[in-house]
């Protein structure tokens, strides 16, 4: 099936647009972190594989196609990597057609070539997957330092597979605004332009053949879980993105092939490039994303997703409750509008997808890095499922703020930053008064309802808010003992309020209709003990306890969850007094 100039048909040989006599066979995978796309290109005397991928099955499939081509007409085989990350090459290691010496010649940018030749498990990201790699021979080092001062002088190479290459290092832009550029003639007629575009990795290259640009992982380089990988460089990435902007939309370019996912148009690539650059510019000083951090992110992801699951289900349920009451009141139209503020089905689908993935993780079917990346993907999509500002008019804005904070804290942590906190002196007594009032007094008073009676729109808004935002402690007998008039302590106000709200929700949600809080002080500490009168699930489950412990530490305190002598759930939070 012939391809048009601006599209490629997957898994089919077709003319390569803009490269007379060349054909391309695109192998396009769904996006994952295990294996990249692969592209086979053939001319009468050469077969070139761009990124054979990370899976043996994929490499075997490519080897079979190559064998078919060579059976028709023997030709030399070359493998060109956009960069030496394991998901782009690991599949070839066990496939004879690639792995035996002199069968296929590997072309890799010099730093990637050296990493492969010394079996570097960090730069290749093998360590992230808990793998080691043996040294891999690279036949041709691209952008070799030995050619730096040989600008515009063609260098002919005769690699071991019997093929022929001519590499010309193009003179560099004196202003340094262009990517380093080598033109490679493979065999008699396959012209390949390579641009050195470090950032995602030190050895990343973008490859132009005919009217197609193969750009590896350039457009993913600022993503959480990708930015900060060993070898990643913000400065280099911004430089590469700047250099590639004019090239991707340059004359004659019709198709952009990323290393993962479907080919895109140059216009789309250019728009994405701007966003990636904007993100990249914000990523100074991020921590290295390594196996330890992936493991920590996976643990935090599971704790976080447990809370996300509960909060989002409650939020969606509350919205349905509002819609239900409104439709009972004959306000079907408004009920539908309210329901549309959150896509409950999408929320369920995303949370289910994460749960299935987490179960696979616990069965040993995927690694921490996969789970952390999945959480990042799900959280990114969850953020798009609800309309925050409109939703805050209907259900408790505090709940929505907590949901937002949960999502953004995970993303921040996943990015390699410490989620923000501001430990500062706070009057605990005043803070508790505000918190308890917020959980007791309805958002809209009876007076608000009465005063809006003459204005249909205002009345509807107040009615909706009154139905949607019921105070957490409205049916609860709440008392607080030992609270002095002023009690200066040091803590993060927002995180502490979140912690107390989670504790109160847990007690109310599991059936406590009487809650007692008690404040005790020593010279240096203030202790707040909150006790319900029903057994709570949370005090007994490790993950929930771990989440609340983490939250209390971030808030500047410490938490002990347990039971009092009657078996009722009891939470004790200790913070330092402000001296």
């Amino acid at each position: 099936m012939p391809a048009g100039n601006d599209q490629l048909v997957p898994s089919t040989w077709q003319p390569l647009p803009g490269a007379a006599g060349a054909e391309i066979y695109p192998y396009i995978r769904k996006v994952d972190v295990i294996s990249s796309n692969s592209f086979l290109i053939r001319t009468p005397d050469v077969i070139l594989v761009i990124d054979p991928g990370g899976l043996t099955d994929q490499a075997e499939m490519l080897a079979e196609i190559i064998a078919g081509c060579r059976a028709e007409r023997d030709r030399s085989v070359f493998v060109l990597l956009t960069h030496a990350h394991i998901d782009h090459f690991n599949g070839v290691r066990d496939v004879p057609a690639f792995a035996y010496p002199n069968t296929a010649v590997l072309l890799v940018q010099e730093e990637g070539a050296q990493a492969l030749e010394r079996g570097d498990r960090f730069l290749t990201q093998a360590d992230m997957f808990n793998l080691s790699i043996p040294p891999i021979h690279v036949g041709v080092h691209l952008f070799a330092s030995t050619r730096t001062d040989q600008a515009d002088i063609p260098v002919e190479l005769r690699p071991a597979n019997g093929g022929r290459l001519v590499i010309t290092r193009l003179a560099e832009d004196p202003n340094g605004h262009q990517a380093a550029h080598e033109r490679i003639l493979i065999g008699a007629s396959l012209a390949v332009d390579c641009y050195h575009t470090p950032g995602h990795s030190p050895d990343s290259v973008c490859i132009r053949i005919g009217s197609i640009f193969f750009i590896g992982d350039l457009l993913f380089a600022a993503n959480p879980g990708v930015a900060g990988l060993a070898g990643w460089s913000q400065e280099a990435l911004v430089g590469s993105l700047t250099a590639m902007e004019p090239l991707l939309t340059g004359e004659g370019i019709t198709i952009i092939c990323p290393g993962h996912g479907r080919p895109i148009t140059p216009a789309n690539a250019a728009s994405m490039l701007i966003l990636v650059k904007r993100d990249a510019l914000t990523l100074s000083d991020i921590a290295e994303f390594n196996r330890e951090r992936a493991t920590a992110a996976a643990v935090y992801a599971e704790d976080c997703m447990e809370e996300v699951n509960e909060l989002f289900t409650i939020m969606a349920g509350r919205l349905d409750y509002v819609a239900y009451v409104l439709s009972e009141l004959g306000e079907a139209g408004i009920a539908e509008d309210a329901r549309a503020l959150m896509n409950g089905d999408k929320v369920d689908e995303l949370l289910d997808a994460f749960r299935v993935f987490a179960e696979e993780h616990h069965r040993g079917e995927n690694l921490s890095v996969h789970l952390a990346l999945k959480a990042g993907q799900v959280i990114g999509k969850l953020e798009q499922t609800f309309n925050k500002s409109d939703l805050s008019q209907i259900i408790d804005p505090g709940m929505i703020r907590r949901a937002e904070r949960l999502l953004s804290d995970f993303t921040t942590m996943f990015r390699g930053y410490t989620p923000p906190r501001e430990i500062a002196p706070v009057d605990l007594s005043a803070l508790l008064d505000v918190l308890v009032a917020g959980c007791t007094i309805p958002a809209c008073s009876d007076d608000d309802v009465l005063s809006s009676a003459d204005d249909d729109e205002a009345f509807r808004a107040i009615l909706i808010a009154r139905i949607g935002a019921r105070p957490l402690l409205e049916d609860v007998r709440f008392s607080i003992l030992g609270k002095p008039e002023h009690l200066p302590v040091v803590l993060d106000r927002d995180l502490f309020c979140d912690l107390i709200t989670y504790v109160l929700e847990d007690l109310v949600g599991t059936g406590s209709d009487t809650i007692q809080a008690e404040v005790r002080t020593t010279e240096t500490t203030a202790q707040l003990t909150i006790t319900g009168n029903a057994v709570t699930a949370c005090a007994e489950t490790g993950r929930c306890r771990r989440f609340l412990y983490g939250l209390s530490e971030r808030a500047g305190g410490s938490l002990v969850a347990g039971r009092d002598e009657s078996g009722a759930a009891m939470y004790t939070i200790q913070v330092a007094r402000a001296i």
Binding site: G317, Y321, D348, A537
Partner: protein
């Protein structure tokens, strides 16, 4: 109760047991009520209602999780069973599921009982 029939749906994930007599239909559910199983639960409840069984008790003793889709099934059922002679209630909720229902505001829409016996005692 005059008759007791048991049916299993949702394969091994969720089991629904129906007990019909002149006063109540009890659906005993186990497993997760999520994207995959909520539609099945809704169909099963609807079938009972279509057959004229308008006193429905859902025994949630075996339910460890309910999604927002599951909550919507409960609301839709409450809507269908709101005539004066109808009954709709839940019993045997785990603390996790009760918490979701309570904080979503659902406990004011239908009655929740600790056990089947306590629920049916009032019907």
């Amino acid at each position: 109760m005059t008759s007791y029939t048991k049916r299993t749906v949702w394969g091994i994930i969720v089991e629904i047991t129906s007990a019909n007599n002149t006063t109540a239909t009890i659906l005993a559910i186990s497993g997760r009520i999520d994207t995959a199983t909520a539609p099945e639960l809704e169909q099963t409840i609807n079938k009972e209602i279509e057959q004229g069984h308008r006193k429905v008790l859902l025994n949630f003793a075996g339910v460890a999780y309910i999604s927002s889709g599951g909550l919507r099934v409960l609301l839709a059922t409450a809507k269908k069973l709101k005539s004066p002679d109808d009954k709709f209630a839940l019993c045997g909720l785990s603390p996790e599921v009760y918490k979701i229902l309570k904080l979503a505001g659902f406990t004011s829409i239908f009655s929740i009982y600790p056990s089947e016996g306590e629920a049916l005692a009032g019907w």
